[in-house]
Symmetry: C2
Amino acid sequence: MERRDVLADAAIAVLARAGSRGLTHRAVDGAAGLPEGTSSYYFRTRSALLQACVDRMAARTLSEMASGAPPGPATVDGLVAAAVATVGRWLADDQERLLARWELALESTRRPELGAALQAAGARVRERVAATFAALDITEPERRAHDLVACLDGLAFDQLAGAGAPRDTAALRAAITDVVRGFTGAP
Amino acid sequence: MERRDVLADAAIAVLARAGSRGLTHRAVDGAAGLPEGTSSYYFRTRSALLQACVDRMAARTLSEMASGAPPGPATVDGLVAAAVATVGRWLADDQERLLARWELALESTRRPELGAALQAAGARVRERVAATFAALDITEPERRAHDLVACLDGLAFDQLAGAGAPRDTAALRAAITDVVRGFTGAP
C-alpha cells in the first residue's frame, strides 16, 4: 500500500477513536507505526490531513461500489435484504469508518471544502439505490434513494452513538424493513 | 437565567460552531461574554463542561416536552404533520442544538458517562411518539417510535451535514411522509 494511503487510514482510525480533537500529526504517526514527522511530510497541515481522510474514504467507497456484485433482480424484498446486509456490514466491520465519516461530516459544516469528496462518494451510493427504485417503477427514485440512505445512516448513528442501548439484529432488521417499505410503498 | 445555564448555553454554541476541538474554557467565557476564568470556576474540567452541555440540552428537551401541547387525535396524518413540524423547527431554529448534540453523541462513544443524560432526553421524546403509535393500534410501538426518531435524526443530519445539497421544504415533507408511512403501515 502506498505510504499516503497508510497514513490516511491511520488518520481515519485516530478520528474514530479520539475524535476530531484527537487528530494530530503526532497521533497519526503513532497509529501508523511510523517515525514522528512522517505524516507532516506528506500532509503538511491539519487541513491536508482531514482532506486526506475524506479522499481516502471516498476512494474506498467508490472502489467497493465498482467491485461489488451487480444488483440482483429488483424486488422490494431484495432491497430490504441488501439494506440489512449493508447496515449489518457497516456495524460489524466498518464502525471505524462510520465514526470517522460522521466526524468529517460535522467538520465539513465548518470546512466546506471537505464536503465535495464526501458528497461524491455519497452520490455514488445513492445512484445505485436509485437504479433499483427505478427498476421497481417507484416514482421519484433519486429523491427516495437519497432519503432512504439518510435514514439508514440515522439508524446506524443511533446504534453506535445514539440515545439508547444498541438493538439486536432482529430489531435492526425490523427497522430497516419498515423504512424500505415506507420508501417503496410496499405493504 | 442562572450563571451555570448561561455558561452551558455558551458551551453548546461553541460546540456547534467550532466542534468538540474548539470547546475550551476560554472560548466558552468569550461566547458567554463573561470574564476569563468564569467557566472554569463553575465547571473545573473539560469533562465537567461537556457534562454541563448534555445536562442542559436534556433539561431543555424535557421542559419543552412538558410544556408542549398534549398530543392531538392520533391519526397517521397527524403524526406526519407533527413530524414535519418537529424536523422543520429543528432545522429552522435549533441547528445549533442539533450540531452540538451530534458532537456530544460522538463524544459519548469515548466518554460513556455522557450517554446517560442524552439517553434520558431521547427516551422521553420517543415515549411520546410511542404513545401515538399505541393509540393507532400499531404493533411494537416502542420499537417503531425509537426507529422513527432515529430516521428523522438521520434526515436532519443529512440536511445539515450530509452528502448532498439541502432539500427544500417540499422534499423534506415527502421524505418524512414516506418514513412515517413505513412505520405506521399506512398506504
